[in-house]
């Protein structure tokens, strides 16, 4: 296995530049994915919103009972968390098929490979835009009013998307080569759902197992978006961990992508 050469890095950067400037391609592919999934159904892509609303109401009410929480605060909590979690988990699981799914394009055209990472971002962002609708509805129904802190949410969202882009490159390359990895990732994401304070309040593990919240990068990314929506300031530690994780992802994914960019098509 030869090392990473300077030319590889240059062509990877060129790929980034051209990939981003070809925004029309990834925009159309991303929204096309959503359209295809809900084609011919009457409600179309609003099934995304509807299934999210069903889940949030069901889990919110049951877990409010289980954890003995006041439903007026707990339902908005679950709604904000689960909407953001769906974005994060969607980015991670879709990342596995970044290049596998693009085989017909990659085998025929010298398209920048970054295009397909951006497609993952667009696809998940469109889903997120459909899901976010239910948050103000839940807030109004539960008599909660938004506070100024939500202005911080877009910043957290940018962090999530940036990390998602690097994850799409990283897992995209690795999963194209190792076809067992998508299954492993899927399982891990399911586990992470349970060990991250999404449908249970973070306070209940304080003092006993606080580390599963404090050292959980998923929880950090989650907090940077959902806490501002709930009217709280995310803790500084969450920002530090989210930024740190993003930097680490960039530091691993960019060299890996540069080294194997030209090989990806041979693995498809």
């Amino acid at each position: 296995m030869s090392a990473l050469s300077k030319e590889m890095m240059t062509s990877a950067l060129c790929d980034f530049r051209e990939g981003l400037s070809n925004w029309r391609i990834w925009w159309l592919l991303g929204i096309g994915d959503i359209r295809q999934r809900y084609a011919r159904s009457r409600l179309g892509q609003f099934w995304i919103t509807l299934s999210m609303a069903t889940f949030v109401c069901a889990i919110g009410s049951v877990f409010a009972l289980l954890f003995d929480q006041p439903i007026r605060q707990f339902l908005p909590y679950v709604a904000a968390n689960f909407v953001v979690w769906t974005l994060i988990s969607g980015l991670v699981t879709d990342s596995c098929t970044t290049f596998i799914q693009a085989d017909t394009y990659l085998r025929q055209e010298p398209l920048p490979k970054t295009v397909f990472a951006m497609r993952i971002i667009v696809r998940n962002l469109v889903t997120f835009a459909h899901n976010i609708i239910i948050i103000p509805i839940v807030f109004i129904v539960m008599g909660q009013w938004p506070s100024g802190t939500w202005l911080l949410a877009p910043f957290g969202l940018m962090l999530v998307l940036l990390a998602g882009f690097f994850t799409a490159l990283l897992l995209g390359v690795l999963c194209a080569r190792f076809r067992d990895l998508p299954q492993i990732v899927q399982n891990l994401v399911q586990v992470v759902f349970f060990i991250t304070p999404i449908v249970w309040p973070a306070d209940i593990v304080r003092g006993r197992a606080g580390f599963i919240v404090d050292f959980n990068p998923f929880a950090a990314f989650l907090q940077t978006v959902s806490e501002p929506l709930l009217g709280n300031y995310p803790p500084l530690s969450a920002y530090l961990m989210a930024c740190g994780t993003t930097v680490i992802l960039a530091a691993i994914s960019i060299p890996l992508f540069a080294r194997f960019r030209a090989r990806i098509v041979y693995w498809l």
Binding site: I25, G32, T104, R107, Q108, R177, F178, A262, V265
Partner: protein, 243 residues
Amino acid sequence: MPAIELRDATVEFSIYNSRSRSIRNDLLRRVGGRIGTEDRDRVTVQALRDVNLRLESGDRVGLIGHNGAGKTTLLRVLSGAYEPSSGAAVIDGRVSSLLDLAMGMDHELTGRQNIVLRGVFLGLTFRQARSLVPEIAEFSELGSYLDVPMRTYSSGMTLRLAFGVSTAVQPDIILLDEMISVGDTAFAEKAKQRIDLLFDRAHILVLASHSMDAVRQYCNRAVLLREGRIVADGPVDDVLREL
């Protein structure tokens, strides 16, 4: 001037069988020590070996050889989709590979939307892509079908649209895997005229074909591939004699 140059271009695939193509085995192979030789599960296929080829403006190249000789792989290298695993490929000019005419078309979209989608893949803006519609509509004779989802099309209609879009923008370099034939007799004649015009205006044409008649008709140079190597390159008649 558009040109393509391949220098010692080699394309080497590693075929990982299901055993080695997993993390489990990669871990076991490194951590667990030597079980057999390291490459026991790995088969390498050299699809192209040390190919040196220079294509210049005016070249009409017929690519010939048996199945598995490397014709399609060579076309993919010429398109830039495959970067050689060793050696170099320098491609200068706008390439259009007509290997898969329906690439990227979405069956849930209407014909019109598919034209825009494909136009965007060619690097056009939305406005430029939309401006292709009237000409393709006229050529493909799809009429009001252009405004219904492509999944309602017959296969012949899909092919008409795919062919229309794929040939709507004039490239410098055309890559083709076998001559295209589309549709009923009347349409086939129309398609032939369109593709002849496209060929005439292109600087370089590469046609991989098993049909010696097609190669004689369209090409002024032939390249014979055997087991991934170029074994003959020159005027069509000379190379065909080598077969």
